[in-house]
């Protein structure tokens, strides 16, 4: 009998870089030869055992992988239902999952003989990770960051400068991640010969979405192994937050073909989905083309891109990686949204109950866990990706909570 469901959810993308109708290579002609070169270089690197060995070595000795799979005992008790595990990617060097991908891309940049690296950043986590790897390998690094984000993530701006990167504030638009990505693309069009564009999420023109996913899949691969070791079986539910969706696809991808594993992606619902003050492109947008790929976007009736809103600078993006768009249509992954307020509550709860201050981004994932965990049975194994630590967010959190911070 014919089925419209694929044999595997892990086969994409096709040769054109598509996941169903999503993905693709919607870029200016100036960039086409560059992304074709990148694709060829990545395919060659994947087949080279020396590349894999170098990655593994750096992941282990520089980034600190594998990250622990931690049983969050007090939160489990607090919610009184599912057994909650955190995949502790916030313990990586630089404080988030971003370093997994950056090391892969920087090694590739070196193989391609590129001497200058550019990146866009929202919360600053990807910018810090890129600046870190560039410092480690002596590459020139320029990070584009929305002016509004420079303001709300100032600790990360200083870290990038310490690491020798140049941070260029972007004032176009509302000065957030979308605008930073536009400016990075404009820089790339201008500096084609020596520059490598290190994209921070599983979005952009092919091959970025699948390449970034491949690098981030270490999260899911480790989780699988660790859970089998701890519990002797696969988890029942996976939960991760979604901006562009790189930490989520990294956790999800190795489990997509295990039909008994329920998978949930949590978008930033901002001030609520009923208005336009949110960044939930899957649950509140429709398909369109931006930044090199077709995916779900926040847009008006004329196809103009809307500015998202989220308390989290890392989720404040009007699009999402194309593989998530496809998984949404295929209903393999459930996408939900939580509000700023719910995320802020989870941020505090995690700090109080587990002694872990999470970033605002995974606080969204935890806010959804708080909704579903209490009604799940006690033997239900739930893994949440704790993809970033909250040091960068303490100033913003203090402001939201009405706490006066001294200078």
């Amino acid at each position: 009998m014919a089925s419209d469901q694929p044999n595997s959810y892990r086969a994409g993308p096709d040769d054109e870089g598509r996941f169903g109708i999503y993905g693709g290579r919607f870029v200016a002609e100036t960039l086409m030869p560059l992304i074709l070169d990148l694709e060829a270089a990545y395919q060659a690197a994947r087949k080279d055992p020396a590349y894999a060995a170098e990655m593994t070595h750096l992941w282990r000795h520089y980034a600190g992988r594998p990250s622990p799979l931690y049983f969050a005992e007090r939160l489990t008790e607090h919610f009184g239902g599912a057994k909650i595990y955190f995949k502790r990617d916030e313990l990586n060097h630089t404080g988030s999952h971003k370093i997994n991908n950056v090391l892969g891309q920087i090694l590739l940049a070196r193989r391609m003989g590129k001497t200058r690296v550019i990146a866009e950043t929202g919360a600053g986590q990807h910018g810090v990770a890129t600046a870190t790897a560039c410092a480690r390998f002596g590459l020139k690094c320029v990070v584009f960051m929305g002016a509004a984000d420079v303001e709300r993530q100032s600790p990360n701006v200083f870290r990038m400068k310490l690491l020798g990167a140049e941070v260029r504030p972007v004032t176009a638009g509302r000065g957030t991640l979308k605008d930073a990505m536009n400016e990075a693309l404009r820089d790339w069009v201008t500096n084609v010969a020596d520059t490598f564009y290190c994209i921070g999420t599983a979005a952009g023109p092919h091959p970025y979405p699948s390449m970034v996913r491949d690098f981030q899949s270490i999260i899911g691969l480790e989780t699988r192994e660790q859970m089998l070791e701890r519990e002797g079986r696969l988890p029942d539910t996976l939960v991760a937050c979604i901006g562009g969706g790189s930490n989520a696809i990294g956790l999800f991808h190795p489990f997509l073909d295990d039909p008994r594993v329920k998978i949930i992606g949590v978008e930033a619902g901002g001030k609520g989905l009923e208005g336009s003050e949110h960044a939930a492109s899957l649950t509140g947008g429709r398909p369109g083309v931006l930044h090199g790929n077709r995916t779900y976007l926040l847009q008006d009736a004329d196809g103009q891109i809307l500015e998202g809103h989220s308390i989290s600078a890392g989720l404040d993006y009007p699009g999402v990686g194309p593989e998530h768009a496809w998984l949404h249509d295929k209903k393999r992954v459930d996408y939900v949204a939580v509000t700023d307020k719910e995320a802020l509550e989870a941020f505090q709860l995690c700090s109080l109950k587990e002694g872990i201050i999470p970033a605002f981004e995974p606080a969204h994932a935890l806010a959804h866990v708080a909704k579903i965990a209490p009604s799940l049975p006690k033997d239900h194994l739930l893994v949440m990706n704790l993809c970033g630590r909250g040091d960068k967010d303490v100033f913003a959190a203090a402001k939201h909570l009405g706490w006066e911070m001294g200078q």
Partner: protein
Amino acid sequence: MSRIQARFEALAAEGRAGFVSFVMAGDPDYDASLALIKALPGAGVDILEIGMPFTDPMADGPTIQAAGIRALKGGQTLVKTLEMVRALRVENAETPVVLMGYYNPIFSYGAARFLEDAKAAGVDGLIVVDLPPEEDAELCLPARAAGLDFIRLATPTTDEKRLPKVAANTSGFIYYVSIAGVTGAAVPKPAEVRAAVKRLREGTGLPVAVGFGVRTPETAAALAKHADAVIVGSAIVKAIEDNLTLKGTPRAGFLKKVTAVAAALAEAARKARAA
């Protein structure tokens, strides 16, 4: 024969380069923009390139980004841009019109419906920056089938290996982006442009228009010696910006001053080969 092809044949017969102007539809508002578009052919413009504003123009520099924002703030939409072309066609049946922009507003409008409406409005060609040959099935092939030219950008990164791919489904003319960069950035080098134009003309059999970075009559004249047409965008859009009030409305003499800037550039391009 398409209006674009007819225009390039006439230019060849006259032995001069053509002048292509770019303005953003709806900049700073619908009425002022339409009046300007209607006046440009009289100022020496051979082909009208009209921008379809988009919030995220990733190949454009600050000048044209600002024009798009002004137009969107003024309430411009793709529907209104097509309406503008219809209004132009009431009094101008000859000047070729090329719409330039990004894919998302077209995708949102519906590609098939857009092509039908654009053709009916009197549009002759399309330039869609973020649709490379790899995505030809999206709009390029249906546009050709609908009788619209699909004009492709060739860039300094378009090498011998890449050129056949770029040329394959292109029609009307080739738009040579004379610098690696965004619109209105660096100044192109005439000697390099000359070699590129020759290579592109031989490689595609199409007329070659050169744009990006042409700001002065001198540069326009230098490039017009080699190219089949010269395209100027940022310099004219800058003249629009310079003739707005602080509130963003057209100042007294707006139309006259902006067309004068276009006329000076057109004159330089048209007379270059006679000089």
